[in-house]
């Protein structure tokens, strides 16, 4: 282990503000933070970097971990997918971090996966994703499709009596996989294929006139219609504006979104969104003592009382606490020992209930559905009874319904129950 002055110039630049906290390396546990601080994803990921720093700060004030201080190592993969792999390798091989909190997009996670598996690292991934994956080296603290998409569709079907479906998404892996699962699910529930319309638009699509007009036509067939939106970040504002301008209100055709949260709403005029829905596992507006304390801590740390909290932040909160508990239980930061300690561990959610690590490296989460209010917050209109366990492999896709992930008894992330073989797409 080397002293701080031998750090590369690059990592000093990003970690510059933290230089003062850098002490003798053997007295500290290094925690890697792999979030884009520049480029297109900076809008979402910068917040996650800040929230991890906040939690490290709080843990150090409590006396650190195993008697050592935690030392963050922040790198900037700059929204560049190959750079994610390079920076991950730097964190694991050069900085020798004990754990990494990072990634947002699925493509960045796929890009770092081989690195984490080769170097036997540990990654906590905090964002809701499309599932169909379970790696020995990743703990998925965001929602799998059965913890967000499926409950949302159930809500629309049962509570709002929706009969006709528009699955509208941005053209990349998360919407395509999620929509494939949803289509299979809807058909299994007896929805006719003619009542499902699936469409994809490019990243950052800003001209929604034709699509919204088509949705309006599709929705005027006399059956209650809803839009399930997997539209990515930046394209959402023009989409909702166009809905508002073409006078499609949430009462007529509700839109339920999986990637629109408090943070995204803070950057846009909420008038056209009133009443539209979002499905998440956390909302800032849910009033619990733990959540209030978390929001207050965040406002103090970021020195801005107007900053919002959001679902991936809570996922990092859960992930960080789980890691701390696992390290305390294993009495070591060794990845193998921590990974062995993790399954079965529990930590409280901010909104109530416990988050428990399952053998498939996913966690249990409550599901909430909220309607957008004028102040950019959500009014919770439905919540799951208890928590929902995350399912790595969807039960509704023919290719993956027989596949099981279990790192405790089977020691396999891709075990086929029919052929009784572990094919290990990601891990051999």
């Amino acid at each position: 282990m080397r002293r701080s002055k031998t750090f590369t110039a690059a990592s000093l630049l990003v970690a510059g503000s933290l230089a003062s906290t850098i002490a003798m390396a053997q007295d500290t546990i290094k925690v890697g933070v792999l979030h884009s601080l520049s480029g297109t994803m900076a809008i979402s990921e910068t917040t996650l970097k800040d929230s991890i720093l906040m939690m490290i700060d709080a843990q150090n004030k409590k006396g650190g971990l195993l008697g050592k201080k935690l030392q963050p190592v922040v790198v900037d993969p700059a929204s560049n997918w190959p750079l994610f792999a390079e920076k991950a390798a730097q964190l694991l091989e050069k900085d020798k971090v004990a754990v990494v909190f990072g990634c947002w997009t699925s493509v960045s996670r796929k890009s770092v996966l081989p690195v984490f598996e080769k170097d036997n690292g540990l990654l906590f991934y905090p964002v809701q994703y499309e599932g169909e994956e379970s790696s020995k080296n990743v703990i998925y603290t965001g929602a799998a499709p059965n913890q967000q998409a499926i409950p949302a569709v159930d809500y629309l079907m049962k509570e709002l009596k929706v009969k006709r479906w528009v699955l509208e998404g941005t053209d990349y892996v998360y919407p395509r996989t999620t929509n494939k699962i949803l289509e299979a699910y809807l058909i299994s529930k007896g929805v006719a294929p003619a009542d499902i319309s699936i469409n994809y638009t490019p990243f950052g699509n800003s001209d929604w006139q034709t699509r919204v007009s088509a949705i309006k036509k599709f929705g005027s067939a006399g059956k209650k219609t809803a839009v399930v939106s997997t539209i990515n970040g930046d394209a959402n504002v023009p989409f909702y504006k166009e809905l508002g301008n073409q006078k499609i209100s949430a009462e007529d055709i509700p839109v339920v979104a999986f990637s629109v949260g408090e943070e995204e709403l803070s950057g846009l005029d909420t008038k056209p969104l009133l009443g539209h829905l979002a499905a998440w596992n956390y909302f800032e507006s849910i009033s619990t003592p733990a959540n209030k304390a978390f929001i207050d801590e965040w406002h103090t740390f970021i020195k801005n009382p107007k900053r919002t909290t959001n679902d991936p932040m809570e996922a990092h909160y859960i992930g960080f606490n789980l890691w701390v508990k696992a390290v305390e239980k294993a009495k070591s930061t060794d990845v193998n020992k921590v990974l062995a300690a993790l399954p079965g561990l529990e930590t409280p959610n901010l909104t109530g209930g416990m988050a428990k690590v399952l053998p498939n490296h996913h966690i249990t989460k409550p599901v909430y559905i909220g309607e957008v209010k004028a102040n950019g917050q959500f009014n919770v209109v439905w919540k799951s009874t208890g928590t929902v366990p995350g399912d790595a492999w969807s039960d509704f896709l023919p290719g993956s319904k027989d596949i099981e992930a279990d790192w405790v008894t089977l020691n396999c992330g891709n075990y086929n129950k029919v052929t009784k073989k572990c094919s290990g797409q990601n891990y051999k």
Binding site: S38, T46, E263
Partner: protein, 541 residues
């Protein structure tokens, strides 16, 4: 329900109720009304819906005001004594309270001492129909029209009776027509085949999708051959006119997409055509314009409608000055070296992006759309044109005309044209070419800033705003002919329309690819674009 002649305006309403109240003091109905209203505090959404039903059956002079307030999120209760209040506007703090019984001002209170009574989508749907019944007797014809439409959204025997009653006293022609359509729709289920035939005759002039669907389902169930045939003919007629209007709609979509491209390309065409600089930072100059809109809006809260108009000159100045600064400090040293300017301006674009990130944070900023720019102009049931797009089409034409005027009718324009045709000769005639270069660059950049104001109404205002449009606008400039304003106009409009014509068939992704491939093929045969530079000037370009 009690039939009371409502004045459309608040004042009138207030007076009527005040008068009514003066006659009878706090009556029994007031007490029931208040206690039923009080139940809203604790109830869940389906219970709230039942309470709304009970309230509207009870009937009370201030029922309409209370339900409207509930629908628009303006019904609150005070935390200290659980008393219910309406508020004037939910956005203000402190909240201006209104008493639910007398509808008179009841002072004000800080926003956190009151709790909002929430609604969800299904409850608002119920409320909309209920409130629409009140609006049916509004003095404003447009309100009555909307009310008829809202009522028709969930038809039953009761609504049919209400509509029939209204049709007897209605004077406005378009409201009358809408009511006739509503009654005819109800008559489709009549057991008498003559009534059904009459209804179909009325409905065949409609272009509404609802009417078409109802007729189509009638065809499936209909036993009477004559009625069935009439319905089939009616559906065909509706489909024909709907097809016609949807063609117009697509054309408008194309024009509005094209107008955005033209707006961006005008500035680019000026700098590209005259100074010969490929300005990679053009998109970031638009971003500056959009952020100027945001800053102006922050600076004049309460005047959202005017702020957009103020933002136009402000954005022109901000982006224009930035452009002049760029030209004076970087670009003028690089004239005649296109590759270096390309890289230098690309560098500038990154600097501008990151500085915006540092100043305003990486998060998007919210620019509010003024009231007069939201919503749509409803031509008929099949065609509605959104206001923001309509204004942007008009705005583009104005900017185009003004740019044309500057280039053709002013001294600066004359000098710009002289320099672009023959720099050396212009210099010999005493034109300060360096000054002209700077001014041209400033003009082009200023127009980019103005385009940014328009974009702030369509999309996100964030550090990446410029990047998403810059490629398309380069394509327009290349397609139209380098440095030609008419080329930019025709090129942009036709690319927009082709894109939108293809989109319904091919999808947004494929449509873009098709347009790109077509453009490549076009450039292969006509490398100088639609309007190639003519004459001697063309030789050395």
């Amino acid at each position: 329900m009690k039939k009371v002649q409502w004045g459309g305006r608040w004042l009138l309403l207030l007076l009527t109720i005040w008068g009514a109240l003066a006659l009878s003091a706090q009556s029994a109905s007031d007490t029931t009304f208040l206690s039923t209203l009080g139940e809203l505090r604790e109830a869940d959404y389906s219970a709230k819906s039942a309470i709304v039903d009970r309230l509207s059956q009870g009937g009370h002079p201030s029922l309409r005001a209370v339900l409207t307030a509930l629908m628009s999120g303006r019904l609150y209760f005070r935390n200290s004594d659980q008393q219910i209040f309406l508020v004037k506007s939910a956005d203000s703090d402190p909240l201006q309270l209104i008493d639910p019984l007398t509808l008179k001002d009841a002072g004000s209170a800080p926003a956190d001492s009151l709790t909002n009574i929430g609604t969800n989508n299904s409850l608002r749907r119920v409320l909309r129909t209920t409130v629409a019944r009140f609006a049916l007797s509004s003095a404003v014809a447009a309100d009555r029209l909307q009310a008829v439409r809202d009522i028709m959204a969930s038809p039953d025997d009761e609504t049919t009776a209400i509509l029939r009653e209204r049709s007897g006293v209605e004077t406005n022609a378009s409201v009358k027509k809408e009511i006739a359509t509503g009654l005819a729709l109800a008559a489709l289920t009549s057991p008498d085949s003559k009534t059904r035939l009459d209804a179909i005759a009325t409905l065949s002039h409609s272009v509404s999708q609802d009417v078409r669907n109802q007729l189509a389902s009638l065809i499936e169930a209909e036993k009477d051959e004559k009625v069935k045939r009439a319905a089939i003919t009616a559906v065909e007629a509706i489909d024909r006119s709907r097809g016609f209007f949807s063609g117009i709609e697509t054309l408008f979509f194309g024009l509005s997409l094209g107008s955005v491209l033209v707006l961006i390309a005008i500035g680019l065409a000026i700098t590209f055509g005259v100074v010969g600089v490929i300005n990679m930072a053009h998109g970031e100059l638009m971003m500056l314009g959009a952020y100027t809109t945001y800053v102006v809006q922050m600076a004049m809260p309460g005047h959202i409608g005017i702020s957009i108009l103020v933002a136009i000159p402000a954005a022109f100045v901000v982006a224009g000055l930035t452009g002049v600064l760029m030209e004076r400090t970087i670009i003028r040293f690089l004239y005649g070296r296109p590759l270096e300017t390309l890289l230098a301006t690309f560098g500038v674009s990154l600097i501008l992006q990151q500085s915006v990130r540092s100043i305003f944070s990486a998060l998007n900023r919210s620019v509010v759309t003024p009231e007069w720019m939201s919503g749509s102009l409803r031509v008929n049931d099949a065609l509605a044109i959104t206001y923001n797009r309509l204004y942007i089409v008009i705005f583009t034409l104005v900017v185009f005309a003004v740019s044309m005027l500057v280039l053709k009718r002013t001294r600066l324009g004359l000098e710009i044209r002289a320099v672009s045709q023959n720099r050396a000769m212009a210099k010999a005639m005493g034109i300060r070419t360096e000054w002209v270069d700077a001014m041209t660059f400033g003009l082009g950049s200023g127009i980019a800033g103005v385009a940014g104001v328009a974009l702030s109404q369509l999309t996100n205002v964030g550090p990446n705003l410029g990047q998403s449009y810059i490629i398309d606008s380069f394509m327009v400039v290349v397609f139209g002919g380098v440095g030609n304003l008419w080329g930019a106009l025709i090129g942009g409009a036709s690319m927009g329309i082709v894109n939108k014509l293809l989109e319904p068939y091919a999808g947004a992704v494929l449509a873009k690819i098709f347009v790109l491939v077509a453009l490549i093929l076009f450039i292969q045969t006509r490398p100088r674009g639609l309007f190639p530079p003519a004459g001697r000037a063309a030789e050395d370009k």
